[in-house]
Symmetry: C2
Subunit: 235 residues, 2 copies
């Protein structure tokens, strides 16, 4: 736990040019910094559990968070990932409901906990901030609607190609074209909404076709246009 010795700070997170908090007044910003608790979270830690009361939201300074629902038979359905700059858990806090998802760290990093009442206070007294959060929710809702349509109408093959492109969009590639997020085959299956074996077969199929390359969990994106073509998305 030596890492805790470096004093963590959320400054980049709060002050970034695209930060959701850019509309806060100086006083509110002070209050935010004073009331929020940053710390390093390790791989496997759970931020909140589906069905439980949620006491605040988390702002991600670094690391990756997996947000998922647990289906009837215990199978995970990954709804989204959170990364640098994302704020998670706000949905349940603002709707004043129990958490409808579970959030778990898959890449360790620095997160800032912000108490629920503080967030609600900001929303109620700062229209600019409120509008910002609302835009976020509306954007997520648009994405969700799109994914509903995909799940209902596309084949597993199409969806897997699309997910690879989405992950590329969100997490980027390194100089060797390697996707900058590491997922198990099972996790990939739990995004796409299919069985682990199907993901494995399709991935090696994509590899045969020269669309991607595989080395363990590293996925190299070789032919983006080929994937776009298969996915029937990204017009």
């Amino acid at each position: 736990m030596k890492k805790q010795d470096e004093i963590p700070t959320c400054n980049t997170c709060f002050n970034g040019i695209n930060s959701i908090f850019k509309h806060l007044s100086p006083e509110q910003m002070d209050l935010l910094i004073y009331s929020s608790t940053p710390r390093i979270y390790e791989k496997g830690e759970t931020l909140y559990h589906e069905g439980r009361r949620i006491s605040g939201v988390y702002c991600i300074e670094s690391g990756i968070v997996k947000i998922y629902k647990t289906g009837f038979d215990g199978k995970e359905q990954i709804i989204m990932f959170g990364k640098q700059g994302d704020i998670i858990g706000y949905r349940s806090v603002l709707a004043n409901e129990l958490a409808c998802t579970t959030a778990k760290i898959i890449d360790e990093g620095l997160l800032c906990f912000i108490p629920a009442n503080l967030l609600i206070q900001f929303v109620k007294e700062n229209p600019g901030f409120s509008y910002e959060i609302m835009k976020l929710a509306c954007k997520e809702l648009g994405d969700a609607n799109q994914y509903i349509t995909d799940l209902a109408q596309k084949s597993v093959r199409e969806r897997l190609a699309e997910i690879l492109l989405h992950l590329t969009d969100k997490f980027g590639l390194d100089t060797y074209q390697t996707l900058q997020i590491s997922l198990t085959r099972e996790e990939l299956a739990n995004i796409v909404g299919t069985a682990t074996e199907s993901v494995i077969r399709l991935l090696s199929d994509f590899k045969q076709s020269g669309l991607i390359d595989l080395q363990g969990r590293k996925i190299k994106i070789l032919d983006m246009n080929g994937l776009k073509h298969i996915s029937n998305a990204f017009p």
Copy 2:
């Protein structure tokens, strides 16, 4: 068009106890009534089109609106229905995006058009109203996440049972247990995310099992618990 002679009014819609507009100031309410244009919309009319600019939102005083996306091969995916008291189109207006869905009247009724800039003005200057809309978006987002999980993990049979229960929740039954919304088999399929023939086969299967009764488009819900059991939802 004789119906237009009766002067339509949105009063019930704006002043209802659960109205989203309950937090508006008297001046804002006046402005709303002055600036909004109520009229009767007939079956088949389209309020807005997916991919086009959207000039305002609609508040439903009566009637039913179908909100859907059009998939790659032209197939509709119904995202939700709007009824009395619902406000639709706000997502795209607030996110300042092109419409991500199409909205079409399936049961004629009175709707009130509210210009986009007026809605945005209210959101920006009235935190209570803003909070109310935000809660709405968050709630819809929760529903969407649930449906993503269902689509990814449940069988068509389970989903159809679940949809019948959701429709019962939203539109209610008459004294003969008949569902108070009339849909074609194809529309049902486009909610569930399956082929028309599958819906037909499963409905008659449910009828055989004594769960429902069918008379054309009228669906009688006979055994709610049976449907719950099949749907693996509603714990």
